[in-house]
Assembly symmetry: C2
DNA sequence: TTCGGATATTCCGCTTTACGCATATACGTC
DNA sequence: GACGTATATGCGTAAAGCGGAATATCCGAA
């Protein structure tokens, strides 16, 4: 019953918010920490849970790990992510998450993978890791 | 976060099968026991859980209690029940449940509420409570 | 009122889960 | 190599979930 596994992943608020964010675009761990205002270990464990159940995939980018929805999602996941987007549209928590995501990404000068790079040769100088509070 | 409550209800196999059955038609408790081959206490508890979270409604019919999806389901429930039906279509467990449901109802001579009535003035005489093993 | 059937509830044990702390691992830079 | 940062994992604990046995409640019939 693979469907149950999907629902088990969806029935925790942190995981639900993570998946909702990922339904819009891939993100790295530090972004989740910032957007959800949650400690690293909490984010990391929920991401591990999602990964173990094949609801997310990872790709290492240097020291950072980018999480995304699977390239070939199961039928159940596809259906539920679509349903989730429908349900989230008017939900304050989720829409606030999207705003924070936009803000977090705005603090990055470049594509996702770049936003977490150390500012050794950063163009603007203000860009840095998103975990570094301004 | 009402959506979480819905997912919490969906993430147990017994509850999921109950909701799937109810998405087709109302049923009384004894039917669930027969269709799911589960003990009374187990069914009853999961139904109570669903009722507490407003995913099902009850209507007493004499000694029996008929469960059904709410007359005015929430947006989240509507979306997820539709999603569930999509996901279930080719699933062996759920399609088998539907077959058992048809069989259980066939053993009843009449509309749902009648199938659980004692055979005091039953027409055919063979019809009885669905819990009464043939 | 008593009885039997349908359903709900309580109590108990077991397993799972969520969380935080501390620590470990992986990577890039020097 | 050492060091700092990003992320993961192990451990302990508190809470929640699930199942079953026993019991309680509700209802209709006699």
């Amino acid at each position: 019953m693979k469907l149950i596994e999907v629902y088990k992943c969806l029935c925790d608020e942190t995981r639900l918010r993570i998946l909702h964010l990922l339904s819009h675009r891939p993100l790295c761990v530090c972004h989740f920490q910032e957007i959800l205002s949650a400690p690293q270990v909490k984010i990391s464990k929920h991401l591990a849970y999602l990964r173990e159940h094949a609801l997310v995939e990872t790709q290492r980018e240097g020291a950072w790990i980018v999480y995304s929805l699977p390239a070939k999602p199961s039928r159940e996941l596809t259906a539920n992510m679509k349903c989730l987007q429908d349900c989230c549209r008017e939900n304050a928590v989720f829409t606030a998450d999207l705003k924070r995501m936009a803000k977090a990404l705005a603090n990055c000068d470049g594509p996702l993978a770049d936003c977490c790079k150390p500012k050794t040769k950063s163009k603007t100088g203000t860009a840095g890791r998103s975990t570094a509070k301004a």
